[in-house]
């Protein structure tokens, strides 16, 4: 479980006089494994910022975030590395998440370097994860630019799944996709949650998608989180 306690984030920007921006203020919420917390709000940096803070990509916040009871800002390797693997993020732009100069199999193999799976098991691991996300091994030899948005999103998911995460922050994962592809990806996410007990923080501006995917729902407004549904 990931627990946020009084998390706030603000920054000063501007010239000549710095303007203070409060992005998140006093956010407390519990994110459970196996369930989805839907996060809605106006287009802006608030939702994504919260997602990045939960994942540990942004460290300059105030407040406490605990992962399995431990404060993530106090974690040192190897605990930090463990956290890094278990809590992941899927970004909005499907093509943006993959290195355009790398073939798909190279991108996947790179992730295996982190997992330290022995070489003779790597091929199987890649085949398995491709099967999980619904793609054939034909895709291994292609480059991201040759894949559609939905396919790229699946590959990005495959990379994340290779690390066997417990929790995934999904930042508008289907906003850039066609309607039919969106349905496929949402279906896939639900299956993954069911089969692997993954927890999701699902960020979206689309109320229908949030309703469909989430157990609990919160709305981020002026930096504060209003929880409107508990599941």
């Amino acid at each position: 479980m990931i627990e946020l306690q009084n998390v706030s984030y603000e920054y000063s920007k501007g010239w000549p006089r710095k303007q203070h921006q409060i992005v998140l203020s006093d956010i407390s919420v519990k994110l459970c494994m196996g369930k989805t917390f839907g996060l809605m709000g106006h287009s802006g940096t608030g939702k994504t910022t919260l997602g990045k803070i939960v994942v540990g990509l942004m460290k300059s916040y105030s407040g406490k975030i605990s992962f399995h009871g431990k404060d993530i800002s106090q974690l040192k390797s190897p605990d930090w590395l463990f956290f890094r693997r278990k809590v992941q993020m899927l970004f909005q732009d499907p093509q943006g998440s993959l290195n355009p100069k790398k073939r798909i199999d190279a991108s996947l193999r790179d992730v295996l370097k982190i997992t330290k799976i022995p070489f003779n098991q790597q091929k199987q691991a890649i085949e398995d994860v491709l099967k999980t996300v619904g793609l054939s091994t034909d895709f291994l030899l292609r480059y991201p630019a040759q894949l559609s948005g939905g396919q790229n999103q699946r590959i990005s998911l495959a990379r994340i799944l290779l690390l066997k995460p417990e929790f995934i922050v999904l930042d508008e994962p289907t906003s850039a996709l066609d309607i039919s592809v969106q349905a496929q990806i949402l279906f896939l996410l639900r299956e993954l949650q069911k089969n692997h007990g993954l927890g999701f923080l699902f960020i979206s501006h689309d109320p229908e998608v949030i309703q469909y995917m989430s157990h609990s729902i919160g709305i981020l407004k002026d930096g504060s989180l209003d929880i409107i549904q508990e599941g």
Binding site: F91, A145, S156
Partner: protein, 283 residues
């Protein structure tokens, strides 16, 4: 209209590639191509003829042989300087662009200081105190020539650093080293190569200029040295154009070949647009 540009680029690239490989082969296989030895002496001041394609110099050395062997030194100086300078530039640019903040300020400060150092005068001064040699030239040029590469690499790295796949890589848990050398570097290779080519060209011209001024290594026959000797030993006064024009043309053509080659590496923005096809660098 766009096609016209592509067509022209294709021809430029091919000519450039051909010349580059030609000179490279001449330099590598000098032993086999040169008709005589550098030390052989024949009748001096001979004009070009069947036996001596470029005639002979004031002490009777065959000039064609000199030209062939001269390519070695010139290319060596150029390529080595290019390799070292670009390596330094890439490292500085990558680190400055990726880490930002204090490291960036520090590295860019160093770059500014190095930029202030006048290159050719420094070599001239050093040559006055130390024995002029090829090694010294390569060393000094490498240490001074990396700045523009560093700047270019830095700005490109800063651009790429903000792209999604870098953030994804950090999220997945890749170390900074991995990201720098395995994620970002492949995306800047297309910029490094033209930088290398331009640096080589610049180094070659500098070497020729320094040799011409008499600061080159007197024991090695570079093209610059040939021109220097031509002027010093009466070649110019006697109108022996076959002594100084060929090495000059050699430098010009080689530099041109690098410039043409660098055209091949211009490419559209990576992954910025919608449907970006895989663009091989030789269209």
């Amino acid at each position: 209209m766009k096609d016209l540009i592509f067509q022209r680029k294709k021809y430029f690239t091919r000519i450039g590639g051909f010349l580059f490989i030609l000179f490279l082969l001449i330099a590598i296989f000098s032993h086999f191509i040169a008709p005589f030895q550098l030390r052989d002496r024949f009748d001096p001041f001979l004009p070009p003829g069947l036996k001596h394609l470029l005639g002979t110099n004031d002490i009777g050395n065959d000039l064609f042989t000199e030209f062939i062997y001269g390519s070695r030194t010139t290319l060596l100086v150029g390529l080595l300087t290019g390799a070292f300078a670009v390596s330094i530039g890439v490292l500085v640019g990558l680190f400055a662009g990726y880490h930002g903040g204090v490291i960036d300020e520090l590295l860019m400060g160093i770059t500014d200081v190095v930029l202030m150092i006048p290159r050719i005068p420094l070599i001239i001064v050093l040559s006055a105190f130390l024995r002029p040699s090829v090694g010294l030239m390569i060393l000094v040029m490498s240490v001074l020539w990396w700045t523009s590469t560093a700047r270019v690499i830095r700005s490109r790295t800063m651009q790429i650093r903000t792209m999604g796949f870098v953030e994804s890589a950090r999220c997945l848990g890749f170390s900074n080293w991995h990201i720098l050398f395995y994620e970002i570097l492949p995306n800047i290779v297309m910029i490094i190569i033209p930088e290398f080519l331009i640096t080589v060209a610049s180094a070659m011209i500098s070497e020729a200029s320094l040799s011409f001024l008499g600061l080159g290594d007197p024991t090695l026959k570079s093209w610059g040295m040939m021109i220097h000797h031509a002027f010093q030993r009466g070649g110019f006064l006697n109108g022996m154009w076959w002594w100084y024009i060929p090495p000059g043309m050699g430098i010009t053509l080689f530099v041109l070949s690098m410039v043409f080659l660098s055209f091949a590496f211009e490419e559209t923005e990576i992954g910025m647009g919608e449907e970006v096809a895989i663009v091989p660098f030789n269209r």
